[in-house]
Symmetry: C2
Subunit: 263 residues, 2 copies
DNA sequence: TCGAGGGTTGCCCCGGCGTCAAGGTCAAGC
DNA sequence: GCTTGACCTTGACGCCGGGGCAACCCTCGA
């Protein structure tokens, strides 16, 4: 006969665990010897190893109980389910490994791939990292608010970037953050933006993304505060009858939306 | 800005979990709007997704805290460790799947492969299943008591089975369980056993496996009670000066051990 | 104006043991 | 025979990562 520690060691569990199984009724209490020690037979070994095999597979002890006391067909059915779950868990862990590797590589897991690709395109245009980071944060917020629209919106932005005027506008973010407010080039940029806005209105691109007003204000104020030149740019446009940036309005009447302009 | 449910949904966690992270200080409490609602920014999204990536990898929240607040090299080192653990966990689960399949197939996980092979050899000799089951239980107990010796002992048993006399002895368990006690063949078997024991003594095979006396008694009594013929066999041997079965003694003096005879 | 569907805090609950605490038993060595 | 140290016993509390629920507040659309 076996002592509890022999039993436990052979099955690869702790003595504490075996007693726990007694407590919850999963393993029947065996006979005791005259000193009160539990004394186990082969059936206990077999049952304990079955318990551990199932428990190692992540099966809750209560379910282990049911399975071991069930008929062979219910048992087989249960094991199939467990194995399916195990496979799923293995795949989940493999996915986690990939995400972990991306995290370690400094990738931005908070953004869908489409947005990352878009930001890379901006980087390719020479846009400074400071601006990219602002825009990235904005996209994170947008993706969180309207995740189902994000790929569609990004596709729109890519289309816009095919317009040379839009590329010129982005060149504003290549060095313009350092321009003084009275730099004459700011006026040139304003002209470009106005042309873009007119075209957007003509194309009927007056969508509402469903972003809340507060957030739009936040994006606009981030833009305005990013540099004196940016502040000036927005002021010029407002003089010409365009209010806002993220969501542009023609003052006083029509509410326009350019399909989500930069920050 | 995001509400807690937008944040939670985007990161794929529950609202409850986000609040839990606030409680344990893992995610800083954000600003509140005028109605007291939490209001999240992009940094919170990034942090939450990092938390989840690590937590999904099985990292305890306290360790997640340390990692996220650590320098890049400590972070990288930590991630390496986590990934190693993940790989180990995946391998563990794959092993569990195999064991589960064996369990479902009705295999005896409680026995090392060497013993299973030995029992199969007995089956091949035509030994009846009733006896095999008795012997299997005995081997489970032996394996549990002296796991480090089991393969060695089984190798010995295989050697013994190369002896034609031993094969004849096992043929006893092919039908002899049904023999009457006064069957003359029992005496023949006793002769065979005696020859085997003599040879074991000559070969100096007088080992002590370290099995406890109680257990040896149990095995012997199981043997004796298995059939009238078995009882008779043991009685004959005792008359001739051999006591015991599992651990044989030459009466009155030398204590012999045959290298673990059957049951 | 009202109800549905958010949000808030606070507290208890779970599984699967680990970890004491406070003793009893047993074999071995002196 | 006595001590030592390794084992055994029961019982109670601790741990993690939240889930669930109560009871209330806030906001928005019909």
């Amino acid at each position: 006969m076996l002592t509890i520690s022999q039993l436990a060691a052979y099955a690869g569990v702790t003595v504490r665990a075996v007693r726990h199984y007694h407590q919850v009724g999963l393993l029947p209490e065996p006979e005791r010897d005259r000193s009160g020690y539990r004394s186990y037979d082969a059936a206990a070994v077999v049952r304990l190893i079955r318990i551990r095999t199932l428990a190692d597979a992540g099966v809750p002890l209560a379910r282990v109980q049911e399975l071991l006391d069930a008929g062979p067909e219910e048992f087989a059915e249960g094991v199939r389910t467990i194995d399916t779950n195990l496979r799923a868990e293995i795949r989940r862990l493999q996915g986690t490994r990939k995400r972990l590797a991306r995290l370690a590589a400094g990738e931005h897991l908070a953004l869908p791939g489409s947005v990352v690709g878009y930001l890379d395109r901006l980087r390719g245009l020479g846009v400074v990292e400071r601006y990219i980071e602002m825009e990235r944060d904005a996209w994170i917020m947008i993706a969180a608010q309207v995740p189902h629209l994000i790929d569609f919106v990004i596709a729109k932005k890519h289309e816009q970037l095919d317009d040379p005027d839009m590329v010129k506008l982005y060149s504003f973010f290549r060095g313009a953050l350092d321009w003084p407010a009275d730099d004459p080039r700011v006026v040139e940029v304003a002209d470009i933006v106005e042309r873009l806005m007119m075209r957007a209105v003509e194309a009927g691109e007056v969508g509402a993304l469903g972003l809340d007003d507060q957030f739009v204000d936040l994006l606009d104020s981030t833009m305005v505060q990013s540099s004196p030149a940016a502040e000036r740019l927005v002021a010029i446009l407002e003089e010409r009858g365009w209010r806002g940036w993220t969501r542009v309005e023609r003052v006083p009447a029509e509410r326009l939306h350019t399909g989500l302009p930069p920050t």
